[in-house]
């Protein structure tokens, strides 16, 4: 069976139709938890783990706000190993290389995985076909939708929480392991059958918090929930690569030429070097033209905080803090607002933040001549990432701009067809490379605005041809036809399948 983008989807799966298909469906909500018992405080993570009576077939979830420094998921994985529990579905919002789950995949302890981002040894194990069940790659908004609708039923959510009070309320803003916003854990908190907060900082009372004790079943205090150096990077930096700077400079000019640089504007960029360079170039243009924006959103860095401080934006909507400056701002600035993944990007949320975006700057591992984007696998089919908020913001924003060098490691990023579709081409409006800008021909409104542009505007086929002239035409690696998982679009339909590596 093929979906509307021509990708093979196994029978019985819900096929992707279009990025607007969700508009024809109603929101499904399971009842959020009503809890009668008081919050229990456990002496150890093992005690909490045993109390949850974890057994085969259960789904355990985690958020990824502690990023590379997370000790909680690793400790739970150690307990799964210690108690020889098999057949668990794991649903962390992201999986980093530091998470020790590859051995549990090998042993069959973990046999299904739902996540929005995956990299490292676990992805290698899955690529070899070692996961007995399936890997489901979701978007951030899609994960929130799946949890609230009961499609992704969570039995126990182990939620790392930098500070918890004696009521069981939790905050990411305080404590030695402070990570700022806790947006990716909110759906787990509200809809998991059982919620255990794991903290290394227990206080009497929190005046402000993101995790409400009304959803919390248990709290465990441990020595450390994570390595602060891995939780947030000390600083995030603008690229120094001249090609990246050129792409960023052209992106900022494009934003201006498209009339998006205006009072009340809203913008999202990632925390990558080029994205930050775009943010920096836009910041300079906003100062030059005395523009006051409405909000910036998504993963927040010191650069975004700086723009808030200079009143270039009235608010930051923060689903995740990327650096220490962002954490500090989240703690102290009332206009730096923490939001849940659902409020951020759930298609069924009323007015999700992504729908209010004027422009979003995103990356791509591959993009094809239909503007479909892959950020899930490399050109060999190996899983190296995932949508995160890519497909969500691309769908919501008025203009979605992909920034990328024309080739990476001598491999052209433009393909006739991407290896894996993460985000459908109908939601991608612009590709900015160092050698030219391609506009999705469906966006005739944008093309009209650029008729007299001095920027190099080319067709995406011309950029493909140019990259082939420079790099040669790459061979297409072939994977096996054994499906190891799916890329789930934000509405729950399957946009592509993932295959075992050869």
């Amino acid at each position: 069976m093929k979906n509307n983008l021509g990708r093979n989807i196994p029978e019985g799966k819900r096929v992707f139709i279009s990025s607007k298909e969700y508009l024809h469906h109603e929101r499904h909500l399971i009842p959020s938890k009503i809890k009668s018992e008081k919050v229990r405080f456990f002496a150890s993570l093992e005690e909490a783990f045993l109390d949850c009576k974890i057994q085969s077939g259960m789904t355990l979830s985690f958020h990824h706000h502690l990023r590379s420094g997370d000790f909680v998921i690793n400790q739970i994985c150690n307990l799964l190993e210690q108690y020889k529990i098999q057949g668990i579905s794991l649903a962390p919002s992201s999986i980093f290389p530091e998470y020790n789950i590859a051995s549990l995949i090998n042993s069959g302890s973990i046999n299904n995985i739902h996540t929005s981002y995956l990299n490292g040894p676990a992805s290698e194990a899955i690529a070899k076909g070692l996961l007995k069940g399936n890997l489901i790659m979701q978007t951030h908004g899609g994960r929130a939708r799946a949890i609230e609708s009961g499609e992704l039923k969570i039995d126990v959510a182990f939620l790392a929480c930098p500070t918890v009070d004696h009521m069981g309320n939790g905050s990411g803003a305080y404590g030695k392991s402070a990570c700022g916003a806790l947006g990716y854990g909110m759906s787990d908190l509200m809809y998991a059958k059982k919620v255990i907060l794991v903290t290394d900082n227990l206080v009497d009372k929190l005046d402000s918090y993101q995790f409400d004790h009304g959803y919390v079943d248990g709290v465990v205090k441990v020595d450390s929930i994570g390595d602060p150096s891995g939780i947030v990077s000390g600083t995030t930096r603008i690229t120094k690569d001249p090609v990246g700077l050129k792409i960023a400079s052209d992106s900022a000019k494009l934003i201006e030429e498209l009339g998006l640089l205006k009072n009340g504007m809203s913008m999202q960029t990632g925390a990558g070097g080029i994205s930050l360079a775009v943010a920096d170039a836009v910041k300079k243009a906003m100062i030059r033209k005395n523009i006051k924006g409405d909000f910036a959103s998504g993963g927040i860095t010191g650069y975004h905080v700086d723009m808030l401080k200079h009143n270039l934006f009235a608010k930051l909507y923060d689903v995740q803090c990327f650096d220490l400056l962002a954490v500090e701002s989240f703690r102290n600035n009332k206009n730096h607002v923490g939001i849940s993944a659902s409020r951020y990007a759930n298609p069924y949320e009323k007015d999700p933040i992504v729908d209010k975006l004027d422009v979003v700057i995103l990356g791509a591992t591959e993009i094809d001549t239909s503007f479909n984007v892959n950020v899930t696998t490399d050109s060999f089919g190996k899983i190296i990432g995932g949508s995160g908020g890519h497909a969500d913001t691309a769908n919501g924003a008025f203009v979605t701009i992909i920034t990328s060098a024309l080739s990476k490691a001598r491999i052209p990023i433009i393909k006739n067809a991407v290896t894996t579709i993460t985000t459908p081409g109908e939601d991608i409006d612009v590709l900015v490379t160092e050698r030219g800008i391609a506009i999705n021909p469906k966006r005739t409104d944008l093309l009209d605005l650029l008729v007299n542009s001095k920027l190099t505007i080319l067709k995406i086929d011309q950029l493909l041809e140019l990259s082939h002239k420079i790099c040669g035409v790459p061979k297409t690696p072939e994977n096996t036809d054994k499906v190891i998982g799916y890329v789930e679009y934000r509405d729950g339909s399957i946009i592509d399948s993932l295959y075992q590596s050869r």
Binding site: P242, V243, L245, K246, S249, E434, R435, N452, K454, L466, K469, I470
Partner: protein, 291 residues
């Protein structure tokens, strides 16, 4: 007439392959100071192969070879002279070196049956060459002079300052020699690649002294240099207005006329013509029309 000359080390493949994307009016592939002595042959081979095979070359290509008194001079010229290059940038130039290079080029152009004549851009970076600048600039194959402040200051035993006061004489002298010979005058690079405001100020100083372009040692400097050595929007509007008024004055048979209360005569018309020519050359006219 070009504004920016971007230096690209000749032994860096990733920089070579992107040399054309930064908007520089010309690119100088460097075989000299940015290439370690052990890498000279590598850089020479890489640049030659790049020029022979790469499908996306910059529009104007210059090569900085090693100085005439270095052991690499002859091999550099032999390797890189071809129809693909426009100029050779000659370091530590003096009149003898310029003549020697010119003779070598004449022979090679003949033996390689080149279709074009390769010009020489001498770098004026020695005290003697500052004094010889007039003679060098008048040499027929010389297309422009590039001031090299770092070596000049070393020889003079002076430090470069933010104000650039210590460079007023050589800069002025070089710019005047170039104008007299009707060739390009290129200013020395600004070495702090992170200081954009400093670069802007340095460009303005050089422009006001008579330079029409400046070397860049990092791609991020190119845009600022291009901007500072281009006529401003206001200048272009003014020039077009003057030339439009001249048309009417010509019909009326007036040699001198008034515009917005100011007298317009021949020197002002020539300035307006120069500005329009630059605006056309650097594709700046449409922008003014739009705005």
């Amino acid at each position: 007439m070009f504004r920016s000359l971007l230096f690209v080390p000749g032994n860096n493949p990733s920089m070579l392959q992107n040399a054309d994307v930064f908007g520089a009016d010309s690119v100088i592939f460097d075989l000299e100071d940015s290439v370690h002595v052990f890498e000279k042959d590598n850089a020479r081979n890489l640049v030659r192969n790049y020029l022979d095979r790469y499908p996306a070359l910059p529009t104007r290509i210059l090569i900085r070879i090693n100085a005439s008194d270095s052991p690499f001079f002859e091999a550099d010229i032999l390797a890189i002279v071809s129809d693909r290059i426009d100029s050779i940038v000659l370091p530590k130039a003096d009149i003898h070196a310029v003549k020697l290079l010119s003779e070598k080029l004449r022979e090679l152009e003949k033996s390689k049956k080149l279709k074009k004549k390769i010009s020489i851009i001498p770098i004026i970076e020695k005290a003697t060459s500052v004094l010889e600048a007039q003679e060098i600039s008048a040499f027929e194959r010389v297309g422009g002079l590039l001031f090299g402040a770092e070596d000049y200051c070393s020889e003079m035993g002076i430090k470069r300052t933010d104000s650039g006061l210590e460079l007023i004489y050589p800069r002025s002298h070089i710019a005047i020699c170039c104008k007299a010979a009707n060739i390009d005058a290129f200013d020395t690079p600004f070495v702090d690649v992170t200081d954009e405001e400093g670069l802007e100020r340095d460009c303005i100083t050089a422009f006001n002294l008579g330079f029409n372009g400046k070397a860049a040692i990092h791609p991020r400097q190119v845009q600022i240099i291009n901007q500072q050595f281009s006529p401003s929007k206001e200048q272009i509007v003014w020039a077009l207005k003057v030339l439009e008024a001249k048309k009417e004055a010509d019909i009326k048979g007036l040699g001198v006329f008034s515009l917005d209360g100011k007298m317009i005569d021949k020197p002002i018309i020539e300035r307006a013509l120069k500005i329009r020519a630059m605006a056309e050359r650097f594709i700046l006219l449409e922008k003014t029309d739009e705005e």
